[in-house]
Symmetry: C2
Subunit: 160 residues, 2 copies
Amino acid sequence: MTDDARWLDETEARAWLGYRRMFLLLNREVARDLAQECGLSEADYDVLSNLSGAPGDSIRLTKLAAHLKWSKSRLSHQLTRMQQRGLISREEHPSDARGAVIVLTEEGRRTIEEAAPNHVASVRRNFIDLLTPQQLAAFGDIAWSVVERLNEAAAPQKTS
Amino acid sequence: MTDDARWLDETEARAWLGYRRMFLLLNREVARDLAQECGLSEADYDVLSNLSGAPGDSIRLTKLAAHLKWSKSRLSHQLTRMQQRGLISREEHPSDARGAVIVLTEEGRRTIEEAAPNHVASVRRNFIDLLTPQQLAAFGDIAWSVVERLNEAAAPQKTS
DNA sequence: CCAGTGTAGTTGACACGTCACCATCTCCCC
DNA sequence: GGGGAGATGGTGACGTGTCAACTACACTGG
């Protein structure tokens, strides 16, 4: 904190430290809400949410990993834990013997549908409602412009 | 992602999902840089950085935890790992037998002084340089206003 | 001085994320 | 159609963060 300040100017340091602090507090709050109210982690929520929007409530592992911007390894571990809790299941891909297809179980569907309103309320309480519409718009622009630049840097070749 | 979109309007969803995505990518990049270039985690860096700014290169555990906004438990675990690597040491508090005083070792000082320029460069590369000064200023305002609101909510009683 | 309450810090169990590595399968080209 | 390159997905080890429970000490009122 103090070290950064010597090397970044005031505005830069304020932005960076603000980012770090905001993300520390905000993630903690949202994760706690989700855990206490729904018994889910943010990772669980993201996976379930993506699955419930997919056709047939199922999706290929690699595709899901790409969508979430997770590593395949991370997703595989996550799925193992979720499978043990009965939220998802793995099934064989009909035409590609390597492939696993991730399927939302009934319990998984019930869980995400119950969790979604709580989670949205939590996000409102801890983030959305703390800012003006102008600030939200500005924040969205800034965040996605950072994301785009980081994506370019990370994968300058892929077009799809 | 898709579930949120049904309950937040376009601007709100863009801000929230942008936040989540930015934080995912940005943390990954900065953490990777720090690990590869300096052999440190972000947590290591934060602790060392705070210690090196403290009088006598030492600080009480609870005070450091409050400063970092970490739980005492998290800090204790972190310090155990850092102690094993020789970056810090724990010493007895002269007047409070319960108290541990965290001290930066010589190696810890060398490490943080070597890491700081690399880390600042990484932060510039992955964040600061991707935004205009206006965006940085706006971002700082937004982030700290969220932080203040979350702090109020979490601890409405403490004044010091 | 001692009983009760609060504070400082630690610990164990567990969930999570990363890295490195592996087994398996597909695809393409000769 | 055989062989190598690349993709799919999983695993183990390890560092990290959280919660809950715990030890040990300090402080305060009787």
